[in-house]
Point group: C2
Chain length 155, copies 2
Amino acid sequence: MSKRPLDKTDIAILAALYKDARMNNKDIAELVGLAPSTCLERIKKLQSELVIKGAQLNVDFQALGGNIQVMISIRLADHSRTTINTFQKQLALLPEVISLYHMGGENDFLLHASLGDTEHLRDFVFNAITARKEVNHVETALIYDQINGTVLPKV
Amino acid sequence: MSKRPLDKTDIAILAALYKDARMNNKDIAELVGLAPSTCLERIKKLQSELVIKGAQLNVDFQALGGNIQVMISIRLADHSRTTINTFQKQLALLPEVISLYHMGGENDFLLHASLGDTEHLRDFVFNAITARKEVNHVETALIYDQINGTVLPKV
DNA sequence: GTTGAAACAATGTGGCG
DNA sequence: CGCCACATTGTTTCAAC
């Protein structure tokens, strides 16, 4: 991945798409003050350079039956690469999992999940996490609310 | 927010857009087996019902000078609504902040941030967090790696 | 829920600063 | 070399069914 410095226009494009990834090219072009063709060229370039890695929908998990969200801190007994990799790959596939962070520090993983109710949460923690031999410690914290940052300046 | 039950097609549309929010309507329609017009109608409906709350770009933070990502656990001294709200609103505006979670449990907030280097991290923690009178305890953990879940079944 | 036509956006080419 | 204008192709969108 090259380290091309991004100019103001690139940042403006990224900021626009960060706020609304479904914005169309014509509107972005207008917003950043470029002709549509030029703007598209830049977006394509950012994509090919993997500065833009994709785009994800913000779904209302509640509408999908996920009435509670939690962060689960997990410590493993064994920190070998295979254990970590296997754990990570298998857990990321579970439908309850929104994100799985591999961490440095006391806890090895932080798991962001959406669950239907507290019973579902209990079952999930037991069946998917504490049932695993390599898991040493689990701590669940409820998420009340999430706010996303809006901008990406820093250049 | 109404609680209309989503059918298989709605879920399929959401799943497609969750994987790639920039997918166009024609391709989604084809994928889920609908005519483009019908598919668009459903997407519009999901948007107006706020099942779809938006879409966010997956940016390579490294390309933007964010070489490290951290999760910072924060405890406040005072849990009044005003203190919490003010803290949340002000911190969410900082350019380093990716997400800010208001939590139940021991820690009041979990802050996901992207920083240029360790010095930037140190300054950020001091200036933006520990410098605040209402902050009681701060704990920073490095993120090695993040995996996002791929599907949203659960209906 | 579909089809089809008109309106609009995406995209490639060639030309300008 | 990056930008723009324009022409072509493809997508969105709305009406009638």
